[in-house]
Symmetry: C2
Subunit: 527 residues, 2 copies
C-alpha cells in the first residue's frame, strides 16, 4: 500500500518542509496541497515550498538556515550541497532578557520515591561510587569492583550498584594551566552526585598530580546520606572527609593487598548506603539533564519538542532541568539571551559562548565542526538547522541560571549548563553538575547510557523505536505521523521520569547493563 | 643494624649527589669521604658536595639543573625549594649530528619465537583486536568481547586474547581541525599493530564523523597473517579490506542481533588467527618501546641506565627501539640533535619540539607542567633533572629516525617517537607506531600495562620491587647498592625481552590480567 505523501512545515514563515514518509518520496510525488516533487527526497530531508532564486534565504523554524547557492524551484530537494551556511550571530547587541516567558501555572501533586541526603538533595539510585584520582589506578579499581559486586554487594540488598569512576585525568596533564579547573571540578563534583549519598571513597596511586587533598580539599564533601541508625557499622570510620586507599602506601605488599584494602573500605560505605531508604519527595526535587545525540531532521519535530514540553512540566513542578551543548545553541544565542530571566543570566550565556568560540578558534575549528555524516544523511543540512532543533528541548520557560562546564547546580528552574555537544562529555559534565536522571533523544540511534544516573532514551522515528525495541524507552516518532501529539508524548515522558526516578521502572540500558565510560572535558594541554 | 651512609654522584663534574640509603639519612650522617649532612636528606634526594653561593650552578649528570636560590653549604639538602629552574635550550643553533656514536659491534645469534606476518612484521602475541570507529559502540563491543572470550576463544587455542580497542574519539570532535590527524592515524595504526596479524575488524555506529572508510581508506590494510591453510574457514570473507559491523544497519533488530553480528564476524577472524604459528626470528625483528613513569631520582641511576644498555644491545642486534616523551627530553634537545644520524633526523627532532612548545603555549603551559608531587618526593627537583634521567633510556646509539605522534615506524635502529609523557598516551601512541613489546621503568610504582602488547616493568628501587613483587618484572634497584651492575641488569632485561616476546614467559601484568584503557592524544578541540 502506498503511503500518502506527507510533509511537516514547522512555522508558517518557513519556505522548506520535511518529508515524513518512511523511505522518502520519489520524483513526481504529489502532496495534498498540490506540491509536486521535482526529484527524489529522502525521509527527513527538506523540500522547497516556494521557488528560490540564487542567494534567497532558506527558512526553517522561522530562522534563516542558509542561502540558496543556485535557483531552486519549488519541489526541489534542499540539502547541504545547495545552500550556504550563514555566519553565526555576533555576541554583541544581543537581546537581553527581553522575552517574557509564557504564563505557566505551577504543577502540583506530582511526587517520586527518592533517596534524600542530609543536604536536601535527592538521589534516584543508591550507588557506591569509587572515585579515582588518576588513570593509573583504573584497572586495579575495576578488578576490585568486579569482586565487590560478586562478593559484597549481595549482602547489601538496598544498594543498587557499585561503580568505578574511572577517567583519563590526574597525571600527565598540565594541572596548573588556566583551563585545568574544568576536569578537576568535574571529577570532584561527580563524586558528590546525589545518587552516591555522600559516601565518597577515593583510590589514589600516590605520586600523581591530582593528589586526593587537591581533588577533595577539606570541607568539600557536604552531603551525606540521611542515615539514623548506624549502630551496626562497627569499626567503620564515620567521618565526613571521605576515605582514600593509596596504592603506593607502604602497607601494600602485592596486588592482592591493594584489592583487599579497596574491598574493606568499600564495605564500610556499603554498610552505610544500605541504610538509605526511599521516601516520597515532590517532583521539585528532581534534577534532570536533557541531551540529544545521533540527531536527524525529526529530532526537532518529534522527540525534542516532546522533551521541551516535559521540560516545561518539570519547571512548572519546581524541578531543575539542564540543557547543554554549546555548538548546538550557538546559532540561537539570541533566543537564549532573550529568554534569560535577568541580565546576569544573559551575560553568563554570552560569556560561555565567547569562551567556546575562543576554544574552537585556538584549535583551528569553529561551530561548523558540529554535524556528522549521519546528521546530514538524516536531513540536517548544517549546524544552524541542527541547533534550531536542539534548542527546542529547553521548552519555553525563562532560563534561570548558567553553569560553566562541570560546575555544581544550586538552584531550581531551567539551567543552561554549558558543555561540549559530544554525547559522552556532555553526559559526564551533567552528572558532575548534579543531575539524577538523564533524558537522551536520538534519531539515528545510539546505545548511549550512563552508569551513574538512569538514562531514558527517546527515539525520533518509529522505525528506530521498532528496530531498537530493547534500547529505546520512548517512541516519539508517532508525533510525525499524527498518531500522537507532542503534549501526549511529553506527558508520557514526564510520567516515565517519575517511575524511573522512583526505581519502579528500569530503563532499557539498565536492563541490559549498558553504560559509557566517563569522558572528561580537558581543554588544557597534556604533558 | 645501621646502614653505611652511601651516595651516588653520576658525573665527576657534578656538585650534588643522591642519597642511596633506604629511609634517607639524618643530620650528622658522615659518608666515607668525610662529607657530613647538615640536615636530614630523604632517600633519592640530593646533597650538596661543595659549598654553593647564591646563584651558583647546581650540576647533575654534568648538566645545570638549576641555580642556588641562597647559599647552600656542602652537606645541605638540595630540593626544588632551594633552586631556580634554568630556561629551556633554544631551538636555534643546536648541534646537528655532531656526535659520532660509539663503535658498537653487531650482536648476532639472538632470536625469539614470533608470529611473522605477510608484510614481514613479526608479532609477539596472537590477539584478535576489535577496532571501534567511535566511542558510542564501546560498551556494546565490550559486551561482545566478554561473550567471545567465554564462548569462542576456547575453540581457538592458538589465539592468546580478544581485545576491544575502545577509545573516546570518533564523534563530538573537530575532525577536520589541523591536529585531528593525530588521533585518527593513532586509531588506524593501532589496528595494524603486528600483534593482530592483519585481521582488522571494525565496529561502527553508522552516523559518526569517523566513518569506517575514513578510518581505513582502501589499501590501508597491507599486512596479513602468513596463513597457508585456510581451507577450513568456510564462508568467512577472506578479503583484506577489513570487515565492519554497523550497529545502525537496518538488519539489526534489538541488542542481541548486534552482539550476534559482532560474534559472527569475530569468529571468522579467530579461525584465521588460529592458524598463526610462532617461528624462530632474529632479534632484529623486535620493535620495542621504552618509557618511564612514576619516576624518582633512582630512575636515572638504576632502571633507565639498564634500559639504555639493553637499548644499545637491541640496536646492535638490528632491532627497532623507540623512546618518546617530549617534555622529558626537551631540556636535553641538544643531546638528541647531536646524536641524530643525519641533519634530516636532527631537523625532525627540532620540528617535534617546536610543535610541542607551541601546543603547550596555546594552553597556557610549558614544560615545567611535567614533574609530579611524587617525582619531587622521590628527589627529582624539576623537569631538567627528570629529563636527564629519562633520556638515558635511549642508550648511546645514533638516532636513526623520528616519528610524529601515532605514525607507523618503517625502519630499524633507535627511533625518537615524539609523544606526550603521559604514560597512557605515550603507550597508546607507541602501540600505534608498531611496538610489539614495551619496557616501562618506575620508581614510585604504577600498575601500568597494555592489553595490546606485553609490558615488562622495571623497578628503580629494591624496596618497590620487594613490596610490589607480583607487579614488577625486574629489579634494577640492586644497581644502587652495588649488588649488580648496569650491564648485568641490562643483559637480564634483554634476555627477558626475548623470553616474553617468544611467549615463553608472561609478564606480571599478563598473569594478573591488568591493563590500561587506550588513551588517545587529541590536540584538536572537541565540539
Amino acid at each position: 500500500m502506498e503511503q500518502t505523501p506527507l510533509y511537516i512545515r514547522v512555522h508558517p514563515n518557513d519556505n522548506v518542509a520535511i518529508v515524513v514518509n518512511d523511505g522518502g518520496l520519489g520524483e513526481g510525488a504529489v502532496f495534498a496541497d498540490g506540491l509536486r516533487l521535482r526529484e527524489r527526497v529522502p525521509q527527513g530531508h527538506k523540500v522547497a515550498l516556494a521557488d528560490l532564486a540564487e542567494g534567497d534565504e532558506v527558512v526553517r523554524y522561522n530562522v534563516v538556515i542558509g542561502y540558496a547557492l543556485k535557483p531552486l524551484p519549488k519541489g526541489s530537494w534542499i540539502n547541504e550541497h545547495v545552500i550556504r551556511m550563514p555566519s553565526p550571530p555576533g555576541l554583541e547587541d544581543l537581546p537581553i532578557a527581553t522575552t517574557r516567558a509564557p504564563e505557566m501555572a505551577p504543577l502540583e501533586g506530582y511526587t517520586f520515591e527518592g533517596y534524600r541526603n542530609s543536604d536536601g538533595s535527592v538521589g534516584t539510585r543508591n550507588i557506591l561510587a569509587i572515585t579515582t584520582t588518576v588513570q593509573c589506578v583504573a584497572d586495579v579499581v575495576q578488578h576490585a569492583v568486579t569482586r565487590i559486586k560478586a562478593e559484597l554487594l549481595p549482602k547489601y540488598p538496598n544498594v543498587d550498584d557499585v561503580v568505578s569512576l574511572g577517567h583519563t585525568y590526574g597525571c600527565g596533564v598540565a594541572i596548573d594551566a588556566p583551563d585545568a579547573m574544568v576536569p578537576i571540578r568535574t571529577v570532584r563534583n561527580i563524586a558528590l552526585n546525589p545518587n552516591f549519598g555522600g559516601e565518597v571513597m577515593m583510590v589514589s596511586l600516590g605520586c600523581e598530580k591530582l593528589q586526593p587533598e587537591r581533588l577533595m580539599p577539606p570541607g568539600t564533601i557536604p552531603i551525606a546520606a540521611a542515615v539514623d541508625d548506624v549502630a551496626d557499622i562497627g569499626d567503620v570510620a564515620l567521618d565526613q572527609n571521605g576515605d582514600v586507599v593509596v596504592l603506593q602506601d607502604e602497607s601494600h605488599v602485592g596486588f592482592q593487598s591493594m584489592i583487599t584494602s579497596i574491598m574493606k573500605m568499600a564495605e564500610g560505605h556499603l554498610k552505610r548506603l544500605n541504610n538509605r531508604r526511599r521516601e516520597t519527595c515532590p517532583a521539585s526535587d528532581l534534577v534532570i539533564g536533557v541531551q540529544c545525540g545521533g540527531s536527524d531532521a525529526f529530532s526537532g519535530l518529534t522527540a525534542n519538542p516532546a522533551v521541551g514540553f516535559a521540560t516545561d512540566l518539570l519547571v512548572r513542578a519546581g524541578a531543575t532541568v539542564m540543557f547543554s551543548e554549546v555548538t548546538e545553541v550557538r546559532d540561537g544565542v539570541d533566543q537564549l539571551t532573550a529568554r534569560a530571566a535577568n541580565a546576569d543570566v544573559a551575560q553568563a550565556i554570552i560569556r560561555e559562548m565567547q569562551w567556546y568560540d575562543d576554544y574552537l578558534k585556538r584549535g583551528g575549528a569553529d561551530r561548523s565542526a558540529n554535524t556528522t555524516p549521519g546528521n546530514k544523511k538524516g536531513g540536517l543540512s548544517n549546524i544552524v538547522e541542527k541547533a534550531m532543533g536542539s534548542i527546542i528541548k529547553s521548552g519555553n520557560s525563562a532560563i534561570s541560571g548558567v553553569l560553566s562546564p562541570g560546575e555544581k547546580v544550586n538552584q531550581k528552574g531551567l539551567i543552561y549548563a554549558a558543555t561540549p555537544a559530544s554525547d559522552f562529555i556532555c553526559g559526564t559534565l551533567q552528572v558532575a553538575s548534579g543531575i539524577t536522571l538523564h533524558v537522551f533523544t536520538t534519531g539515528r540511534g545510539t546505545p548511549y547510557s550512563l552508569a551513574e544516573v538512569p538514562v531514558i532514551k527517546v527515539a525520533t522515528r518509529s522505525d528506530l523505536a521498532r528496530r531498537w525495541h530493547d534500547l529505546m524507552d520512548i517512541n516519539a516518532g508517532t508525533i510525525a505521523t499524527g498518531q500522537s501529539s507532542i503534549e501526549e508524548v511529553g506527558w508520557e515522558l514526564f510520567r516515565l521520569m517519575l517511575e524511573v526516578a522512583s526505581g519502579r521502572q528500569q530503563t532499557c540500558a539498565e536492563k541490559l547493563g549498558l553504560h559509557n565510560a566517563l569522558t572528561l572535558f580537558n581543554p588544557a594541554p597534556v604533558t
